[in-house]
């Protein structure tokens, strides 16, 4: 064989081995990540029984803010969402009359799938659950009031999820988080009990202020 044949053979070998190496390094990474995840999972593992007891304890508090703080402490400690006990209804539905409470619980359950989505898909999901016929509230012809109420409730849950996620990632403490979630729950209660926008707006302004303070404290920590 002459030099050209040797050179071409060498080139082909380099190319083929780089293709194989790229594939195998990707699968190695996946396998390593899986091993690390499993190790972490084993270290942090509390028995299901212990976790259930922690969740039950949160329901024993008479005061709503204390219950919320207890749940946030659970999220922070276990780095997982707080799965409510099967017979417990969401905070914002608890003070409603029997009929509205049922509607509130079923609305909450229906909306859960939306929080697994992101971006536009999540927004579409919210609007579907709130019975939007159009993409924007301003274009709706009928039932704007009810649709706006349902949509705002879903958006408030979204902020609540973001706060809980920040607690899970140790970005904020449970005390500050419970102030915010308690305010969110108050607003949701007002919306569900049919209060007017003039009654709701001042509380929403307070919520914005709480979030602003929280954001600036996180920014200061990061400096």
């Amino acid at each position: 064989m002459n030099k050209i044949t040797y050179f071409s053979g060498f080139l082909a070998l380099v190319l083929i081995s780089s293709v194989i190496a790229a594939g195998s390094s990707a699968s190695d990474k996946i396998e390593n990540n899986f091993k690390i995840d499993k190790k972490l999972e084993e270290t942090n593992k509390k028995s299901d029984n212990e976790k259930r007891k922690m969740r039950e304890k949160c329901e024993e508090y008479e005061n709503r803010k204390e219950r919320i703080k207890c749940r946030l402490d659970y999220i922070k400690e276990n780095k997982e969402n707080f799965e409510a006990l099967y017979n417990k209804i969401p905070e914002s539905c608890r003070n409603l009359d029997f009929e509205n409470r049922g509607k509130c619980v079923s609305f909450y359950q229906k909306s859960q799938a939306c929080y697994e989505k992101n971006g536009i898909e999540k927004n579409k999901c919210f609007k579907r659950i709130a019975n939007f016929a159009k993409a924007n509230l301003k274009d709706e012809k009928e039932g704007k009031n009810q649709k706006a109420r349902d949509y705002v409730i879903l958006l408030l849950y979204d902020i609540q999820e973001k706060v809980e996620e920040a607690i899970k990632n140790q970005k904020i403490d449970a005390e500050k988080g419970s102030d915010i979630i308690n305010k969110i729950t108050e607003i949701k209660e007002d919306i569900l009990s049919g209060k007017t926008k003039n009654e709701i707006k001042p509380k929403f302004a307070e919520l914005k202020e709480l979030l602003k303070k929280l954001k600036s404290s996180i920014d200061k920590k990061n400096e």
């Binding site: 071409s8 927004n123 705002v152 709701i200």
Partner: protein
Amino acid sequence: MNKKNIIILVVILLILVLALSYISMNKTTSVVEDKNSNSESGTDSEVYNAADTTDDVLNEIDNSLNYIE
């Protein structure tokens, strides 16, 4: 070059072409996928809001509260 060498050279070149076309095909597919996903979200974003950040969500709530009676 004798016949044997020519055959080996052709086989090697064929492998080279196949390997190169495999790599370039993967790259083209991912570029096309990216373009498709961008164009889809571009159309949707004209009517739906992504409302990803907390500020986005707060603005959306602010606007929607005006429709509550």
